[in-house]
């Protein structure tokens, strides 16, 4: 018999569904001169002060490992930031780990918390890693659909309906990728009640928390009684336009940190020092750049909300992140057909909603992390596509 790699791959890994829209991605990658509303990262380059600080550190010879927890200076900056921005207080010596992006943080948190068969409640549509990381940790993802009718907001009733004796973790991800939904403090408080009632640990992915446009952001961990049961996951990728640096962090109870650092030190050792030094500069001198970028995203968001209405695209008004999630249901196509035809006929790339879970069917994700000029042209073409 010939050599079959498939024989050697674990059943767990095989059980993770491949990205359903690989075909569509390949199509985009091979298309020329397209306008892309498909990109899930800032269109800004990391602010110069951040890049410059890293270049300087390389000149000075900062090329070594750091503490497993991350550089103390960076942890101090993270703690200060979380205090000033969200009123949270953490101990930089015991309650913070610097990670390789929020991505590693999510994986580590799930691996630390899940015994085989433990259930993770995951509101959907959502970022793609939650389900996959749950499966890799031998957990059971329990998807909770959210709907446009309720502005893609998770409610206590939605959670209650999915609670079983195996429920252990609740994933929260607001501002949300792909819907742009944000929860108010009151709405979060209602979820906190459910978390307490059913003794759930909450992993709160707050990577987009700097990008809210209608209300000041609220951290789930800042709600009464929630700090101890929240694993706060965040990072610099979105707010500071630092996706490629791979820096994120976890803040939570010291015992969780002790457990997680075992995974981190044996698999990652530490986040790259270049990224960490850049992150220190970001917290010290990059905050005003965050504000500048937020204003620009907000302008684009307002434009899209108005334009969608003008051209007859039904859409819940997004309040955070840099995504709009219009419904394409009334055009009589599934989301993949819509996205594929839009790409082929009008050369505009969007992401089919079902890439973010079954409940994303009937929607497309339009990222506004692209210049105003491109957005204008893209919506002009979408207008032609749906109305001609």
């Amino acid at each position: 018999m010939s050599f079959q790699p498939d024989h050697y791959i674990t059943e767990d890994i095989k059980a993770i569904p491949p990205s359903g829209i690989r075909k569509f991605f390949d199509l985009c990658a091979n298309s020329k001169d397209i306008i892309s509303l498909g990109v899930g990262e800032p269109d800004f380059v990391s602010p110069w002060t951040i890049r410059e600080a890293c270049v300087y550190s390389l000149e000075k010879g900062y090329t070594m490992y750091t503490s497993n927890y991350g550089m103390l200076e960076l942890r101090q900056e993270i703690v200060r930031y979380l205090y000033e921005r969200f009123g949270l207080s953490y101990d930089e010596n015991k309650e913070v780990i610097v990670t390789v992006g929020a991505s590693e943080a999510i994986d580590m948190a799930l691996r630390t918390l899940l015994n085989p068969g433990d259930e993770v409640l995951i509101p959907e549509p959502c970022y793609v890693s939650y389900q996959a990381c749950t499966l890799m940790s031998h957990g059971k993802p329990v998807m909770i659909p959210t709907t446009a009718a309720k502005e893609f907001k998770l409610t206590p009733e939605d959670i209650e309906a999915k609670i079983t004796p195996k429920s252990k973790v609740l994933m929260l991800s607001y501002p949300n990728n792909p819907t742009g939904a944000v929860l108010t403090r009151d709405e979060l408080l209602a979820l906190a009640e459910v978390a307490k009632k059913h003794d759930l640990i909450v992993i709160s992915d707050e990577i987009y928390s700097e990008l809210t446009y209608e209300h000041e952001p609220v951290s789930f961990a800042s709600l009464p009684g929630m700090k101890e049961r929240t694993i706060l996951v965040s990072g610099l990728s979105k707010a500071f336009a630092m996706t490629g640096w791979r820096v994120g962090y976890i803040a939570c109870d010291a015992e969780f940190i002790q457990a997680m650092v075992k995974i981190h030190q044996y698999t990652i050792l530490c986040a790259p020092i270049m990224g960490q030094i850049a992150a220190i500069e970001a917290f010290r001198n990059g905050i005003k750049e965050v504000a500048r970028m937020r204003t620009e995203y907000d302008h684009r968001r307002r434009y899209i909300v108005k334009k969608a209405k003008d051209i007859g695209l039904d859409m819940v008004s997004p309040e955070g992140a840099f995504y709009a999630f219009p419904s394409i249901e009334k055009f009589g196509m599934d989301c993949e057909t819509f996205a594929t035809r839009l790409l082929q006929e009008k050369k505009v790339a969007v992401v089919p909603g079902n890439a973010f879970g079954k409940s994303g069917e009937g929607f497309i994700r339009c990222s506004y992390a692209t210049s105003m000029k491109q957005i204008e042209e893209a919506f002009h073409r979408i207008d032609q596509f749906i109305n001609d």
Partner: protein, 164 residues
């Protein structure tokens, strides 16, 4: 959101050719309200002029000569900086003019077709103005950045076309 007019000004300062319907949508007001706001800003001379940033050196066969000139003034009775500024600034060669702190009093940017003409302007016009004590002329060798824009090629978008 910040004060509406500031918001509008920030957008126009970045690109004054931006479609007005787009600008209105960006700040969340209707077109008529935007036009009214801009009209007021123009009438109040908050918006002074709409212009373009041009890389002239790439289009002129005989590039212009630019110089930054620092000027020291002898303070005089009855003649304030504003009066002198008006006299200096009146010359069309003077593209910009600022009162500055430090060793000098005024800093100006001057533009003329040849070095000779800049020199003539300095010796014949500028230094003969009453109250001007001395001038330092620094010819510009190369321009790198102006009004937040680098001369030369635009940075390309290096991201992948789709990303979840």
């Amino acid at each position: 959101m910040k004060d509406l007019k500031t918001e509008i000004l920030n957008i126009l300062a970045e690109d004054s050719t931006k479609n007005r319907d787009t600008v209105a949508a960006m700040v969340g007001i209707d077109r008529a309200a935007l036009d009214q706001a801009i009209k007021e800003l123009e009438e109040d001379r908050i918006i002074l002029k709409y212009t373009a940033i041009i890389d002239w050196d790439r289009i002129n066969t005989e590039p212009m000569v630019y110089a930054r000139i620092d000027v020291q003034v002898q303070p005089q009775r009855e003649v304030g900086f504003d009066d002198i500024a008006r006299r200096i600034g009146g010359f069309p060669e003077v593209k910009s003019l600022m009162l500055v702190s430090g060793k000098f009093d005024f800093a100006l940017m001057v533009e003329a077709p040849t070095m000779m003409e800049v020199s003539n302007f300095v010796s014949g016009k500028l230094s003969t103005i009453d109250g001007i004590k001395s001038t330092w002329t620094n010819f510009v060798l190369k321009k790198y950045k102006e009004n937040e824009v680098f001369y030369g090629e635009e940075e390309s978008d290096k991201r992948q076309a789709v990303l979840l």
